[in-house]
């Protein structure tokens, strides 16, 4: 199996054709083309079996609502007549191919509410995504290096990512996920919200029904997005320094972090690898 990612561009289909040509030269017969949009839990062996049984050059992947912009193609057959098959949109292909119907979990990720739904579905086990990190109590996952003040409260289900800090009195609840290198300020409430990596929430704030990516704030109820420039409210967090043991010779005294005397953290270490939800990486 080979995975190639083409960056979105005007001539992306030309790029795909070039990639297919390389695949044919390498002896690869069948290729899955996927536009990175929908999250699809595809039974690939079953889809390939269906494609071979139908003996069609292109098999589009559908769910109940229609095309998911996933196609299984026979590279050599498609390249023999590229004008007919690119883009591989079944509406314009003569003798419209029979689509393969996905029976697994599908989330089209068309707007931020879909992203929140994916998070909730992951927490509730409705899809195959599982939160990374250690499940410290039922429904509460904490990833490596995350630091929580002893007065912070995590209400299940919730997830705290790598190197994230939750300050005194903060509450994380209602299927909220706080991704890596975030900071939730003292007394703040994060409820039914997703904080994407490197997001800082100030003190005493109430972040509900929202998706926050650094300075970008998306209110899911009002369906509005805007940028907040005030670091007292919301901002980007600079990447957290990796912890370097003090006994290493190159670790200068001046660089050694001073302990937080006013905060008492209990640190949780995770055994699991990977991260939850890297899906929504694009611009909001």
């Amino acid at each position: 199996m080979r995975i190639a990612i083409q960056k979105p561009a005007e001539d992306r289909w030309a790029n795909v054709k070039r990639a297919l040509l390389k695949d044919v030269q390498r002896g690869i017969e069948t290729v899955l083309i996927a536009e990175l949009g929908a999250y699809v839990e595809l039974d690939l062996p079953a889809a390939l079996q269906f494609h071979r049984a139908k003996a069609q050059p292109v098999t589009p992947i559908h769910d109940d609502m229609g095309s998911l912009a996933y196609w299984i193609v026979d590279a050599a057959r498609v390249l023999s007549n590229p004008d007919s098959f690119f883009p591989p949109d079944e509406d314009r292909i003569i003798n419209a191919p029979v689509p393969y119907k996905v029976r697994g979990y599908v989330n089209r990720l068309e707007d931020p509410r879909d992203f929140r739904r994916l998070v909730v579905d992951a927490f509730l086990g409705r899809c195959s995504i599982a939160p990374a990190g250690r499940e410290v109590k039922p429904g509460v996952w904490i990833d490596e290096g995350a630091r929580l003040h002893k007065t912070a409260r995590l209400v299940a289900p919730s997830y705290i990512g790598c190197n994230t800090r939750i300050q005194p009195g903060a509450v994380i609840t209602r299927c909220s996920n706080v991704e890596r290198n975030c900071n939730v300020g003292e007394g703040s409430l994060v409820s039914n919200a997703s904080l994407l990596p490197h997001t800082m929430i100030g003190r005493g704030l109430d972040v509900s029904a929202a998706l926050v990516n650094g300075n970008n704030f998306i209110d899911l109820d009002r369906k509005i997005s805007f940028r907040i420039e005030d670091p007292n409210l919301i901002s980007n967090v600079p990447p957290v320094k990796q912890h370097v043991p003090s006994y290493l010779p190159e670790y200068a005294e001046a660089d050694r972090p001073t302990p937080d005397r006013d905060l008492e953290y209990s640190e949780y270490l995770s055994r699991a690898k990977g991260r939850l939800l890297e899906v929504f990486k694009g611009e909001v």
Partner: protein
Amino acid sequence: MTTGKAVVVKQLPETVSAPQSQAFYRELEAVLGSDRPRLVFDFTGVRHFDSAGVELLLRCMEEAMKRNGDLKLAALSPQLAVILEMTRIDRLFEIFDNCNDAVESYHHFYPEAMQSIAPTLKVASGKLQS
């Protein structure tokens, strides 16, 4: 600044950050120092609002309340509404869609408000009669 029926309507500047907040507060000091100040802040032209603006609102509200007055907010954009909600100060203010409604609210009892206290009034009057 426009006044009508002793209600002062004040339009906030386009940018409400620290320097603008200080200047705005200085302009308002005379009104806030009067007896029972009745104020409406018009957010129509506000494009940028940060934590200094939140401080300004709280300070003005505090001063108005000290003198048995009130401060109401009007014409907030959805973005501003989110910021007030996020900073938990939305529950401290009466918020109106436009300035007229905010000004009128100083002169009228709302039927909803009367309905909410009506059961209490009935009980009180029943006790008085008995």
